[in-house]
Symmetry: C2
Subunit: 570 residues, 2 copies
């Protein structure tokens, strides 16, 4: 069986311990997903309720299809940013249709096993892109943190707009925001802290254990706690008739209705009603229809790898699962989503056992939609901005610079180039540039084999030239190798042997070049022998009927051929 339904593997052995672990992890993730949903909706420039709409149905569908126990499906900062870049403030209808289309493309790629295309984004490009995304998102939140208007979605444009408006800063927003960020960062550090830091092998006292658990809980649900506190502060100010902060404002209560995605809809422009067709939506979304589904899988696959524990991961199955979740989500007015790295870490450390966690996290979002939306009104925008900023700054992968530098400097240059390109251009163009440069590396590697040239002697003292290319001979390298062989053979008029040990693949273009080589060697009466030719490669060469193709399969045969043939020729 093809493991299209991973649930069939784990559900039959589902135990009480699994249930408890999943319940605790699910609730903990739920405490994070609610504030993140509200916040990430603002990255996509959508009203906050759309974040909640994105957070319950998909993560329940993921239980059935997901292959990784630590993926909490829902809105993520990166996908929200990509969504914003695609829909460009054109309204939630576009986001919902984008979720449907992204899901469809992901589903198709999953069914046709196109998961491998994630492999074509190398580590350095992914790091550069992710780091830039983090800075772009951080930048997009500065406006709420300072309470100023900004424009532009490209990093450098937004910053120039921020500096242009910085004198409009609302001090209350700014102070609250900075305090919130400080609290979140401190609690984050605290989450890695325990009351008894010495690993002394002794049993800890009950108080220590309880204290550690309590501390861990506070640190893990820091976003929710912060929202509660700041919401209360907002509420108090509001009740006293003072609103020094920008607040979220009213969030519609209740569940979204279950209905078809708005493939065409009517829009009010001025006094007129304009109908927007499906074709127009698709045209407006443009390349986003490809970029969003592919790059959101980048984040998702990174999570799978991070928590795989040596298990084989199957990106195609993840494509399929995420695709179905996004399609389902589009029926409850959600925007595109994926697995979220920040919540994954929480889910993993909270002791998740199976994807069942999604049930409890989704359930909490449903409860929030049904009962808590009136209270969201008072949450200051600066607090949400702080939640986002405190989450994304750790996406900037400063830690990879040193190993990349020591491992392969070219890769570091590539990573930095991608990073800068994503800040200077729209991010999808930035990563496209990075991928293109990386492809050029591959082409260069294919086109320019390393070729060693040695002057050797047979037992009888006959000198010959041994030319050894180190990789397969296919069209981009054919002319290079041919020219080099010609040049060397013209310089030193002795028999030439091409060592084909490392030539494991070839093509018609190479066969033609070989034919050309044998003909020109034959015409200048110089001996050319192909040594250790693999049968599959030899068959391709034979296909073009090269005249005088001399082949030798071991050293003895080679020396024999060299000595015999040289004797025959004048």
């Amino acid at each position: 069986m093809d493991k299209r339904f991973p649930i069939l593997e784990w559900l039959p052995k589902y135990s009480k311990e699994d249930a408890l672990g999943d319940f605790v992890a699910g609730l903990t993730v739920g405490l994070t997903v609610i504030p993140q949903s509200l916040a990430y909706a603002s990255i996509a420039h959508l009203p906050p309720q759309y974040g909640l709409y994105t957070s319950f149905l998909g993560c329940i569908f993921y239980i059935f299809l997901g292959s990784c126990k630590d993926i909490p499906f829902g809105p993520t900062a990166m996908v929200a940013l990509l969504t914003f870049e695609s829909i460009q403030n054109k309204g939630p209808e576009y986001a919902i249709v984008l979720s449907f289309l992204s899901g469809t493309i992901q589903l198709l790629m999953g069914i046709f096993k196109f998961g491998f295309i994630i492999d074509f984004i190398s580590g350095p490009v992914a790091s550069g892109f992710t780091s830039a995304v983090a800075l772009v998102i951080l930048t997009s939140q500065v406006k709420d943190l300072l309470g100023i208007p900004t424009s532009g979605s490209v990093f450098i444009h937004t910053w120039s707009s921020i500096f242009g408006n910085i004198h409009h800063t609302n001090l209350w927003d700014a102070i609250l925001g900075v305090i919130c960020i400080a609290c979140l960062l401190l609690l984050r550090i605290g989450s890695k802290f325990s009351l008894s830091t010495v690993d002394d092998g002794l049993k800890r006292s009950k108080i220590q254990i309880l204290g550690n658990r309590f501390f861990w809980f506070i640190a893990t649900s820091r976003n929710a706690i912060l929202l509660l506190i700041c919401g209360y502060i907002g509420f108090c100010f509001f009740n006293n008739g003072l609103v020094p902060f920008s607040l979220i404002g009213s969030v519609p209560a209740g569940m979204p209705s279950f209905k078809m995605p708005p493939f065409s809809f009517e829009k009010v422009v001025g006094n007129a009603t304009v109908s927007v067709t499906f074709g127009e939506i698709v045209a407006d979304l443009g390349s986003g229809i490809i970029v969003v589904p592919l790059l959101s899988l980048l984040e998702n696959t990174a999570i799978c790898k991070a928590f795989a524990d040596g298990k084989t991961i199957n990106p195609s199955q993840e494509f399929l699962a995420i695709g179905v979740c996004n399609i389902a989500n589009s029926f409850v007015q959600a925007f595109p989503a994926s697995g979220s790295l920040s919540r994954s870490a929480i889910q993993h450390s909270s002791g998740s056992r199976t994807p069942m966690c999604g049930l409890y996290a989704g359930g909490m979002v449903i409860l929030a939609l049904l009962f808590f939306t009136p209270y969201f009104y008072y949450i200051p925008k600066a607090t949400l901005a702080a939640v986002i900023i405190a989450a994304v700054i750790f996406m900037v992968e400063v830690r990879v610079i040193r190993p990349m530098w020591r491992s392969k400097k070219k890769d570091l240059i590539l990573g930095v180039t991608t990073f800068i390109a994503c800040l200077v251009f729209p991010i999808e163009k930035g990563i496209a540039l990075g991928i293109t440069i990386n492809f050029i590396f591959i082409f260069h590697q294919v086109a320019r084999p390393k070729i060693s040239i040695e002057r050797l002697k047979t037992g009888q003292g006959l000198e010959y030239l041994m030319i050894t290319p180190d990789r397969c001979l296919i069209f981009p390298s054919v002319e290079y190798v041919k020219n080099l062989v010609n040049k060397q053979s013209n310089k030193q008029k002795i028999p030439v042997v091409i060592d084909c040990t490392h030539i494991y693949g070839t093509d018609y273009t190479a066969a033609c070049a070989v034919e050309c080589l044998t003909a020109s060697f034959s015409s200048k009466n110089q001996l050319l022998i192909f040594y250790n030719l693999k049968p599959s490669v030899g068959a391709v060469f034979e296909g073009v009927d090269p005249k005088d193709l001399e082949v030798a399969y071991d050293e003895q045969g080679l020396h024999h051929a060299l000595e015999n043939k040289t004797m025959q020729s004048p």
Copy 2:
């Protein structure tokens, strides 16, 4: 020295024999270039004199910079077609600016040694493209052959238009055209024929030799002779007041004026005069500015290879030479040009010695411009169409199908796909599709190494798994290899050895995967050894500080490590 002026190599040793050979070859090519110039201008949908303008200055400049003695620079069928696809009947000004821009790009690519990019067009793609170009050109001439109007520049559209108008066929044009094609084909066969076909080693009589030479001359200058005869027929009909054929019509006499290319110009539209700016011209030419210079080099490089006689060719020098010729040409109102394969064959077989031939061919075109243009009036269009058709049908490379099939079937499929794509879409899109598919082949080859897996034993009978990838380990293949190693090691819980003999290159992404592998093997207490790791590859792996990286450099060391380490572990 960089050989930027190949003339410095051959001119100092220029002999009387060289001069005679070049003179004869130059005149023979001149007899071909005049009818071809008139004809190829019609492929570009330009008035015939522009073909002549394209044929004299560039081929004189080529003498100084060209690296191949058999290249007669001038209009070619393929480049004329590409020019037409770019300028789309917008007028000769566009063609002249295109010649300047193409030349500039070729010059820059020559200076910066970008000649290697021709290597990225494989044999099958080039064959499919060239064959399709031949059919598209042939199709474009059917209108003149039948004397009917047609529309559409894409193969399939033109043919549907031909069948729609076939009842308008002018019988006189059609009959003359078919007779002309038949004569040209017969004479072409004749050019490979000699009076004494038996190679009997005896001296031939003087009459035989003279006869052979005469026959060869007639066959080689068949285009010019046909034009002369048909022009005379047209003249006779015209003088009797009968014009049953479409004639070329008046060709302006005299040399073109030497002036700047029309970077901006005024155009009469209806009653108004509209000025066209350089920006508008560039925008209208669009991708043609890249496609024309690159693909015209494809033809040129193919000629160099065909007549290289085992010498190393330097595509960058050809880029540079052709670039300068096109720039110079744009000052005498020429359209883009390149080396022509059909005239190359004539130049080669006429005994050319150096690029000096261009002087005589160019001289003849100048004479034609000065004195013969009035006579061109009477040449029937069907004769020119016949000249083109008889030249291009031999560009359809049917002969490569059999060797391609026997050599590598995937390449044949690629060639046929490119061929069909060039007929169904505009040709530049067709070849782009072919190149893209070919690149996917490369990516697949890089991403999916062949990996052999063996179960071996040390001297002491310890079993281990030997995993040998056959090519370098870079990012697209990293996950594949890692997953395979994980899977195999989980299946058979014995020490695993990765044989790195063929891994000659790697990158940061691979290093991270290796780190991940060593960590997971270490955590499951299984031994993992990298065998025969090249120092350069090892250094990249070490960069990310993998824990427990075990390395062995020879069989003895490997067995020693296997036995020792296995003893240590529980």
